[in-house]
Symmetry: C2
Amino acid sequence: MKRPTIADVARRAGVSKGAVSYALNGQPGVSEATRQRILAIAAEIGFSPSSAARALSGATAKAVGLALCRPARILGIEPFFMELISGVESELSARSYALTLQVVTDQEAEIAVYRRWWAERRVDGVFVCDLRTDDRRVPALEELQLPAVVIGGPGHTGALASVWSDDAAALVETVEYLVALGHRRIARVGGLPSLLHTEIRTDAFTDVCRRLGLDEASTVWSDYTGEEGARATRRLLSSARRPTAVIYDNDVMAIAGLSVAQEMGLAVPGDLSIVAWDDSPLCQLVHPPLTALGRDIPAYGAHAARQLLAVIAGEEVTGAQDETAHLTPRGSTAPPRAT
Amino acid sequence: MKRPTIADVARRAGVSKGAVSYALNGQPGVSEATRQRILAIAAEIGFSPSSAARALSGATAKAVGLALCRPARILGIEPFFMELISGVESELSARSYALTLQVVTDQEAEIAVYRRWWAERRVDGVFVCDLRTDDRRVPALEELQLPAVVIGGPGHTGALASVWSDDAAALVETVEYLVALGHRRIARVGGLPSLLHTEIRTDAFTDVCRRLGLDEASTVWSDYTGEEGARATRRLLSSARRPTAVIYDNDVMAIAGLSVAQEMGLAVPGDLSIVAWDDSPLCQLVHPPLTALGRDIPAYGAHAARQLLAVIAGEEVTGAQDETAHLTPRGSTAPPRAT
DNA sequence: CCCGTACGCTGAACCGCACAAGTGACGAGC
DNA sequence: GCTCGTCACTTGTGCGGTTCAGCGTACGGG
């Protein structure tokens, strides 16, 4: 089956290629009657303009890129990225933009991918995830002048547009909630310390604990995997004055922590309260169901996609705040048992 | 920053565009010395040929497509797709092929996407997931003559290449294992009945149960979500002669089932043994850890990617069997308590 | 009545690359 | 010494679009 070209449409409509181009792109230069005729013929023979030819003649590639820098097993276990992609996609496909995905091993590889995409004119813009402080990707993208939206922040995004969520506020809300329940010894199992949002959460945790006079607040770091979450929990619960509540930076670690607590004979929430960041359906599957900080990730992705399309369209776009995660109390949090 | 073109390289090397093209594509027509000089200059100024121009002049788009037909929340909760994508990607990026992703709502939309990708010459080939019996996508792709690899089967793939795993064998192994433990009343919570692999597993389950003389074997269907898995489990465990072992078609439903059992006061594995299909890290996070049927999903994806690249290269490719899932016994299975 | 102009369309020049055909130099063979 | 072949390039063409200049026609105003 031969692919139809614009010339085929033009021939059948008895007009020139140019006229077809105007008609299909909604540009002036053809009468309404002719436009309708051309549109009908194009639909009839199933014509879609070649993305290559269109990209070549100066227009856009109608594609955006997303490079993911995580090993396969973490990528799989965290619902975050897949939900984000769903949301991004919903916005992109409505505008018939394609999403090009690439999994990379480190920041340098990611920058190389951006550079290649740019040189190949493969994408019109990119999303940047897992922002770090002093992220080398930011200046690299600025230098390339490749439209980009950072999914994360605030801050450290240079001149790039960004979409961010106020993790500090969410963390403060959580700590205040736990304190209101009566907790005084609260610990936190954080994600990778090199990521900006981990740092933001850590700072917020330190601040709010100081403000509320909780001097036994401590953060330990992990890497989002269940194994590390379990190890960190074991360490916390083995200490002399073990915490009565733990906040985990993702749901997988929280579930692992719950298992460890139960295995050590601690009742949840009686002896230990648990809060998970990221409220996936998993949190409701375990016993007790986990109190979690959730937000609409697909909507976050859609928001980022709208931002990127705006940047590509040449609009002046800066940072945009997305919804703040909200706490959904479930069975894993309660007042600490009187000691 | 202006993007370098082949003309820029040619000018700096003091040769024609044609010579540069030959040099970069490893074709004869330039001396080795000149080739090296051109390569060095191209690397120096960061030149990559425009994918659009390359695709336009008859070559390939150097991109393949993957359309996913699942709602966002299921896509997120199942590690399967993300792991598959990682594996696919590892193979593609080594050959500098790009992966274009699209989330669609139904089969018709998916076929429309294939048709558009084909007309736009956006991809050189596609992956087909979630195969059904009498899948309309198969004839559609055959008609378009768009290279494709079905991830699933065996059978019902028409003339398309495919990569499949012997789910029937894995299921038989599982049932035999449970029977060896002493179970006689085994139930199964299946996935979406319209999917081919669900049907294959159901048939295998029915067959092996008949062969082993288990006449109380029953399958109930679900949709891979925790809620549905919990509901199905509740139904099974409430019946007069409740099963002593349940096999779940994915890990999320198995975890939900475990919760339901514990909530109903049944001991796992004492009163009920549980086996999960898909062995993600989640299975080891719960208590007791779940006996699971696992396999290397990234490797599966990589296998599929190699198949697709072979089809694109014009090689004669048919079905290829991938690794069979193997049972990893953990704490959720044991002999049934004597009644 | 004639000119200016808006409309509707055509023809051609690009975009950046691959590849076929052409060219000049040089060496081998008779 | 002349031809022929090969090598190492160059030139030119076309892929399928977009876009701009140009051009005939109809129409309205002075």
